[in-house]
């Protein structure tokens, strides 16, 4: 033991003298989040919902691969954990040309890969040109770097004038460009053979770093290094002693000596492992909250932490504007406004989320300090009598006396309500909606589908009404395919989508407010003036509140259970690139 302590001490001294002097440090400190400087040591154990399919972030869209990538790799820029502002990471600073088209990133000096190889601008250019913009990479993002200027497709270009500088040249200004540069950067010296530059085919990148790769090959620049992997059971990580972040006391991060990700499938199994003390922290749902809170109050050695959420997915209910039977009704703003009055948001928040949710934005998260517009005054509160009266006024009355209202064509207002049957939360919401709709003579038949098939059901237009939750992001530009009419995920009004993918959207199908929203997103993409952009997106949220393309239901809070021996805890969704509080966690 004393010997270990001595080693730690010597390591710390060496680090203080050399390590931080070598890598250009970034001092991070979040007193407002309750963080304090701590000492290095100990093991933290986190849950992983399943084995990662691959160690290469760009080869598969998967939460587990993303979670691990977040602690092993770095990106050029990252989020401030408190304000969500963009801050330096691997790029120590940057300049943007006056016209907003040339971004010059000055890389952090002295950063090395986990195998000791120096990190240089060549790695960054390699990651962008050979992997991220590789159209065959299954989790790449080629589309992000291809701009349409005057009807012509033009790519962003990447150059490395020297080892410490990366220049990205855009065909046109792009307001959210910096925010998007949270792509993890990968080592050229390890991945070159899998790329076109290294003589392989484009699709070969997906075969790099499967999970049976020797871990010495899988090197990043991040706070932790891969140490062991046992398929189906555990991923072991050790502290990177050369990491470039330091706390205000000069201690280099991360604090934890080891990080173990235990593969535990399913919420109940994870809860059991947490309660048994095998997991240090656990993200839980509102439905699990009462049980955990009871145990905390009864003196268990953990605390339940809740915080408002920026990321995360608020559910909404959507009516299919293009439904063959009810398109005239569902496409009518007055009908959707009437139905909004039959959606009991307060009850969902109280009964389904146990109070740990709030009235959502339309759709921006209330926790978003920049873009959120408080549209609550425009949203209609629950009032079944008013809903019934509004339907009467539209001429949707029960004309045949069977207890179900009839639309003007005479047909019963009876439709399917599709929801994710894998989730008890959505099952409960669907039941509440069905029940309240029934009270005003609107008959909804529940259709449960597998969670993984929900969105494709929506996109195929194979529903009449549907409950879906789509995630919030810190900039509306990142959710443009969902909310811009004609976008690839604008599923509730599919007739606005272009006849051929990538073509001109069908403006003829758009209502006036949809055309305005379309323009807002178009302008928002290139507008560099931040104030003007914020104003545009606030207008969009008001338009959404007034025209209810979808009826937003609730915005769930972040809830986590944290054992008492974990310090500096900040809620971590795990899968958001550039938002990573794990290096700050320490073992008390």
């Amino acid at each position: 033991m004393p010997r270990n302590r001595l080693t730690t001490l010597v390591t710390a001294l060496v680090l203080a003298a050399w390590g931080t002097a070598l890598a250009q440090p970034k001092v991070v400190d979040y007193p407002n989040l309750g963080m304090t400087p701590a000492t290095v040591g100990g093991t933290l154990t986190f849950p992983l919902a399943d084995s990662p399919p691959t160690f290469l972030y760009y080869a598969q869209i998967d939460n587990n691969t993303q979670t691990l990538t977040g602690v092993v790799f770095d990106s050029l820029v990252e989020f401030n954990l408190e304000t969500y502002a963009i801050e330096p990471a691997l790029a120590a600073s940057w300049d943007v040309s006056a016209d907003g088209t040339v971004y010059t990133f000055h890389l952090r000096q002295g950063v090395t890969w986990h195998d000791g190889t120096p990190f240089t601008a060549a790695d960054v250019v390699f990651t962008y040109t050979q992997i991220i913009t590789n159209p065959e990479a299954r989790a790449g993002d080629a589309a992000q770097f291809m701009f349409t200027v005057d009807g012509e497709q033009r790519p962003v270009t990447f150059e490395a004038p020297d080892d410490a500088t990366v220049v990205m040249t855009l065909p046109a200004p792009s307001a959210a460009f910096l925010l998007q540069q949270r792509f993890p950067i990968f080592p050229k010296h390890k991945l070159l053979p899998f790329t076109v530059e290294g003589g392989a085919q484009q699709a070969d990148i997906n075969n790099a770093w499967p999970t049976d790769t020797p871990l010495a090959e899988v090197v990043g620049t991040g706070p932790f290094m891969y140490d062991s992997y046992v398929a189906g059971q555990k991923v072991g990580l050790v502290r990177n002693p050369n990491y470039w972040k330091v706390d205000s006391a000069g201690t280099s991060l991360p604090y934890a000596e080891r990080l173990d990700y235990l593969v535990v499938r399913g919420n109940e199994a994870q809860a059991a492992q947490f309660l048994a003390g095998n997991l240090a922290v656990l993200n839980i749902s509102g439905a699990q909250f009462p049980d955990f809170k009871d145990r905390e109050v009864a003196g268990a050695d953990f605390r339940v932490v809740t915080s408002p959420a920026l990321f995360g997915s608020p559910p909404h209910v959507a009516f299919n504007f293009d439904d063959p039977a009810f398109s005239e009704v569902f496409g009518d703003v007055a009908f959707r406004r009437a139905m909004e009055r039959a959606v009991d948001r307060e009850r969902v928040i109280d009964d389904v989320y146990n109070g740990l949710a709030e009235i959502p934005g339309t759709p921006t998260a209330p926790a978003d300090g920049t873009f959120y517009e408080d549209t609550k005054p425009l949203m209609l509160p629950f009032d079944l009598a008013a809903a019934a009266a509004a339907l009467d006024e539209l001429g949707i009355k029960d004309t045949d006396g069977n207890g179900v209202r009839n639309v003007p064509s005479g047909r019963d207002l009876e439709f399917s309500l599709t929801y994710n049957a894998d989730s008890s939360t959505f099952t409960d919401i669907a039941t509440i909606l069905q029940n309240d709709f029934g009270k005003i003579g609107v008959k909804a038949n529940l259709v449960g589908v597998q969670g993984s098939a929900l969105l494709s059901t929506g996109l195929a237009g194979d529903y009449q009404a549907i409950i879906i939750a789509l995630g919030n992001q810190p900039d509306p530009e990142l959710r443009k395919p969902i909310w811009q009419p004609g976008g690839s995920l604008y599923y509730w009004h599919r007739s606005t989508q272009p006849a051929t993918p990538g073509g001109e959207p069908n403006f003829a199908a758009m209502a006036d407010w949809e055309k305005r929203i379309y323009d807002i997103f178009d302008q928002g993409t290139t507008l560099v003036d931040r104030t003007a952009r914020v104003a545009l997106y606030k207008e969009w949220q008001r338009l959404n509140a007034e025209n209810v393309p979808v009826i937003m239901i609730a915005k769930p809070a972040n809830i986590a259970a944290v054992h008492e021996n974990v310090g500096n805890f900040v809620y971590n969704l795990g899968v958001i690139p550039g938002y990573n509080p794990v290096p700050h966690y320490y073992v008390k």
């Binding site: 075969n207 046992v230 189906g232 059971q233 199994a269 995920l489």
Partner: protein, 323 residues
């Protein structure tokens, strides 16, 4: 015997082909596609999804996808590619094989170890108190699903302040070299799957053994053995039990495919790193070659198990001859 074996193997081949067609059709008939997972991600446009479909060969006609898969198996023993893990199916299945065999082997060993003697005892004490108690427990074990027993055991362990609530090891022993402490930790975890999964097996084996033995005990040769003046112990052990156990041999053979699909839900609940959860995931995600290979493997094991059982029967029971 040899010609019998050849005949049996020859029949297996067309059966396997038929099974592979059925597996393929069933998986194609399920709604959704592997690439559905890409739709919500803001990084993925419809063109990108189309490109991935092409990479995976999902844009080819169904018969072509099927023939390619079967062709790979026949010519190179190549079971295809896991869409999800970006590597050959055989390696994906291979890394789970060891623990699957260990868990299935150990639970089966213990359930037989308990069930066979219990079956003998209950047959000898027919309709007595022991019989009633053992049969009751057996029926309950048969009636209660294994995952429910698993959940109850986990709840009990938690209540008692234990830490072994799933998995095969405590976190610190996973991936550590074998030691006495690790073995002890393993046994400390393993009793839960043994109890949860084994209980179901105990009941059926016990009932089978009991019925067989009761039949045999009424047979003429047992009466003859008794009348020769042999001790009751010798009559039971040498004459009755040896004959009564024969049908269990075929039961053993038939339980071979349970390696793959016997304990899916219990394995998920107990967080065991076995093949069951892999099959479940691959079916949900439509990782078609993994799912199809596992289903094919399960039917192959069933046929091989059947064959082995028949051969073993001929070996242990002199009355059975196949030629």
């Amino acid at each position: 015997m040899f010609s019998y074996l050849v005949r049996r193997v020859a029949i297996m081949l067309p059966t396997l082909v038929l099974v592979s067609v059925v597996c393929f059709v069933v998986i194609q008939a399920a709604p959704g596609s592997f690439t559905d997972r890409y739709l919500e991600d803001p990084r993925m446009g419809p063109e990108a999804v189309a490109r991935i479909n092409a990479q995976l060969g999902l844009d080819r006609p169904l018969y072509e996808q099927y023939l390619r898969w079967v062709g790979g198996i026949v010519t190179r023993l190549d079971f295809g590619y896991s869409f999800f893990a970006n590597r050959p199916v055989s390696t994906v299945i291979g890394e789970r094989l060891f623990w699957t065999i260990v868990v299935a082997g150990v639970t089966m060993f213990f359930s037989w170890l308990v069930a066979v003697p219990l079956g003998i005892v209950t047959a000898l004490r027919r309709n007595g108190f022991t019989d009633a108690v053992a049969s009751f427990i057996g029926y309950v074990g048969l009636a209660v699903p294994d995952f429910l027993i698993a959940l109850l055991l986990i709840a009990l362990v938690l209540q008692a302040g234990g830490t072994q609530v799933g998995g095969l090891f405590s976190p610190r022993y996973i991936g550590a070299p074998w030691s006495w402490a690790k073995l002890l930790d393993f046994l400390n975890h393993m009793w839960i799957p043994i109890l949860a999964i084994g209980t179901t097996g105990v009941a059926s084996v016990m009932r089978q053994m009991r019925a067989n033995l009761l039949d045999v005990l009424n047979a003429d040769y047992v009466r003859t053995a008794r009348s020769k003046g042999l001790t009751e112990r010798r009559v039971i052990n040498r004459h009755a039990v040896r004959t009564a156990i024969n049908p269990l041999v075929s039961m053993l053979g038939l339980s071979l495919p349970e390696l793959i699909n016997g304990t899916i839900i219990a394995s998920i609940v107990l967080n065991l790193p076995t093949i069951g959860p892999l099959l479940y995931d691959s079916l949900l995600a439509k990782d078609q070659y993994v799912a199809m290979s596992l289903l094919l493997l399960a039917s192959l094991l069933l046929m091989v198990g059947n064959l082995l059982a028949d051969v073993a029967l001929a070996w242990v029971d002199p009355r059975i001859r196949y030629d």
